[in-house]
């Protein structure tokens, strides 16, 4: 899959900069190379900091040679990115890593996203819709921060929302709706992306029932497998071992990992 794919250093012009929620921006950038990405792969973006910033693709439009990068402003790098305007050019390494493989069309499918974990799931839904129709569970801190609900609906998908403060959908985390879904679909497959504690909970909830695939975040150096900064503990053949989020991941089968 992604192994055979191209990855390059590209200079990609920004086509659009849109605010998608308070402190959340989506950049649409133009790059034929990046538009070859699998859902779940990421872009490693040059900013004024000492390290590039990893951001997953929110949309992958191969036809028009465009991709989306949706992110929350959390520090200097994302603030700088949020200020980039139409016509400015981003220096990006990508597409990088291993994304979500196509779901098994014979099994029920669910997407579980928390916060800025939602965008790569949308990319997966859009890519694999012709094989299978996922149920979608979106979690956020508050109603304003629910990302891409309308985008999923535009794909004709049902969306269940959960907010920590109850301002939209279920009050609480995604785990309530996910538990319901798992009870209805014990043989299902779950794609999840979001904060690490959420992924740990999803992984635990799926254990012995559904197959879970999770897209992880980890602090990165090189982004391409050379520096061993971005590792996560996994079950090796004999002992525990480290795998690289930037290369073997960011998407892993939940059962590979040691939580």
């Amino acid at each position: 899959m992604a192994d055979t794919m191209i990855s390059e250093q590209v200079l990609a012009p920004i086509v659009e900069n849109r605010a998608v929620a308070p402190d959340h921006v989506e950049l649409i950038i133009s790059s034929a190379v990046l538009s070859q990405a699998e859902p779940g792969q990421f872009a490693h973006i040059l900013t004024p900091g000492m390290l590039r910033r990893p951001v997953s693709f929110s949309r992958i439009d191969q036809e028009n040679g465009q991709v989306g990068l949706m992110f929350q402003i959390v520090g200097d790098g994302t603030r700088w990115l949020a200020e980039r305007r139409h016509g400015e050019v981003l220096d990006i390494l990508g597409p990088l890593g291993h994304g979500f493989a196509a779901p098994d069309p014979t099994k029920p499918w669910c997407l579980v996203g928390g916060g800025v974990g939602v965008p790569p799931l949308y990319a997966a839904a859009a890519r694999y819709l012709h094989r299978s129709r996922p149920d979608v569970i979106i979690g956020a801190r508050t109603a304003d921060w629910v990302l891409m609900a309308q985008d999923f609906k535009d794909l004709g998908l049902d969306v269940t929302v959960a907010t920590d403060d109850g301002t939209a959908g279920h009050a609480g985390t995604v785990m309530g709706p996910l538990e319901t879904w798992l009870q209805d679909h014990p043989d299902g497959q779950v794609f999840a992306c979001g904060p690490t504690p959420m992924l740990a909970a999803v992984s635990a909830a799926c254990e012995g029932r559904a197959t879970a695939y999770v897209a992880l975040e980890q602090r990165m150096g090189c982004g391409i497998g050379a520096c061993l900064a971005c590792v996560v503990k996994a079950h090796g053949k004999e002992h525990a071992e480290y795998r690289r989020v930037c290369t073997e991941g960011p998407v892993f089968a939940a059962k590979e990992l040691i939580w």
Binding site: L46, G221, C222, I224, A226, C227
Partner: protein, 315 residues
Amino acid sequence: MVIDVSVSLPRGLTLKNPVIAASGTFGFGPEYSRYVDIGALGGVSVKGVSPEPWLGNPTPRVWETPLGLLNSIGLQNPGMDVFLQEDLPFLRDQNAVVIVNIIGHTVDEYAQVAARMNHEPGVAALEVNISCPNIKEGGMSFGQDPDQAYAVMKAVRQVTDLPVMVKLSPNVTYPGLIAQAVEAAGADMISAINTLVGLAIDIKHRRPALGGVTGGLSGPAIKPVALRVVYEVAQSVNIPIIGMGGIATATDVLEFLLAGAQAVMVGTVTFQYPKRMNEIIEALPQVLHEYGFASVRDAVGQALPGRAPIRGGGQ
């Protein structure tokens, strides 16, 4: 303008240019081969290699600081056998000048790796890393004591004919003393500097930011310290020095040459700009020419005491 950028080092080690990828920032080569013209580099120093596999430190393993990078990788590596079987062939096929960075918990472990690398086709030199701040036993402590540094180098020397450089720690009172100790033990070259020990605080979680607590500081922030160590060591020993620490441009390279280095290594900047080493190599002849040097050799050590300084206008 024909500028000779080649570098001749002991035991017949020659580099087509003085720019070497720094250990730990370039893996074992294949990862960057998409972006970097590896054949055009002066050499590649690979990630530290130990007799057995090492797992490394808990995450987070990197943290940004003001124009610096803290890392606490902990020398994760697959061990020397896997390295030779699975990793070395790639770089050998690229005709890279491969420098194997060797590590151990004990003097004997260093000697084991050195012995294993001897006569391995494709291994051009060894870099004895006695300066890694990211492991509990061994590692840096060997580089902080002249006697231990001597012992490691002596043991390595006994088992190999390869050109050997010892990589110095800046986290010592007198780097020149360590350099003299390893010179006496038979080191052919010095490489300097490894990272400075640093710490970042994760305010939100009220704890050290790195999983390994302290880490090694690299990048432009440390360049003045690196130049100082090179300058001091160049006056302490008679063997060549490979300088590094914060190099990001061809003029940075020239600064290290003037301070006494014969060649350089480039690390952290590669994370930002994968092609930067190639760009530096392309720019170097022009930069040397501009400042009046006909070769890399010409520039080496020109800022050391005893060379007539060129004093000009301005101040």
